[in-house]
Symmetry: C2
Subunit: 146 residues, 2 copies
DNA sequence: TATTGTTATACTCTATAACTATA
DNA sequence: TATAGTTATAGAGTATAACAATA
């Protein structure tokens, strides 16, 4: 790659481009870290929500992860076949199914969370703790616009 | 969506997740802004590099955009068929082809850059100028690790 | 031997429409 | 009439291997 690739290009000043490239790095690292556990970023994300206490429906999960509800079906199917989550009926709405992690699911999630944390840490290695906090705060506002 | 989706979840503290969600918003907005011009984010990015003075080869473009060289072939094919770019032989390496924007390509790029700028502006609406600069600086370091 | 562009192929992700059962 | 989950399908994006021309 020529040295010009690190500067002088209009895309370099484009926040959307930087966001895409940073995300691509992050995705690659996270998927590599999760592969030995049989997970990918998306299945890990669903598992993480199932571990939390929110008792989320598939619809909730779809909205939170910006996925189509039909995609969540396949992700939950996979996790359920591996006995990592169960679909429980929502007592207040018989249409809805709440996704809950099993004991095995919680255990795997712990390992997976640690693996992704290490991968992210390596990627953020050049940033001070305060810079990381600022980045997280700014990204939160972009990720969840008012 | 329940109110719990805005907080209390482990993913909420995960910078990689925030990066992915912010990027998804950004991609959706940019693709929508580019659609009337017959471009998508990836073809726009290739066009933008062709407009710059770097005289980049397809290999350079692939590396910069984190694409496989074989994907750049298809993107350049499309732009070339629409007479927005040309492939010029590199005098210093007969294997390589330099991708250069035509006059029409430059004109369309100008419109497209303005459209994406507006879309990004809407997305960053909640951020002050200084916050935007900080975000851009931090993302640059993640996008182009030393 | 290694690299550039290319073709081919398979897999993942994204987007949409339609169906069923419930609300 | 609208919503939750599901099925199906097509298009976009990602990843890999192999080949010809050239370095």
């Amino acid at each position: 790659m020529t040295s010009q690739l690190r500067s002088e290009h209009s895309l370099q000043a484009d926040t959307a481009f930087l966001l895409a490239r940073a995300n691509a790095h992050s995705l690659t690292a996270a998927n590599a870290a999760l592969a030995p556990l049989g997970l990918r970023v998306r299945s890990f994300s669903v598992l993480a929500l199932a571990v939390d206490e929110g008792r989320l429906s598939q619809r909730d999960i779809a909205e939170y992860l910006r996925l189509d509800p039909s995609q969540v079906v396949a992700l939950v199917d996979d996790l359920q076949e591996r006995h990592l989550v169960t679909r429980e009926p929502d007592p207040t709405d018989r249409r809805a199914k709440v996704v809950i992690a099993t004991g095995a699911g919680r255990k795997l999630h712990e390992e997976a969370a640690e693996a992704t944390r290490r991968a992210l840490d390596a990627m953020l290695g050049g940033l001070q703790a305060e810079e990381r906090a600022v980045l997280r705060a700014l990204l939160t506002r972009l990720a969840f616009p008012a």
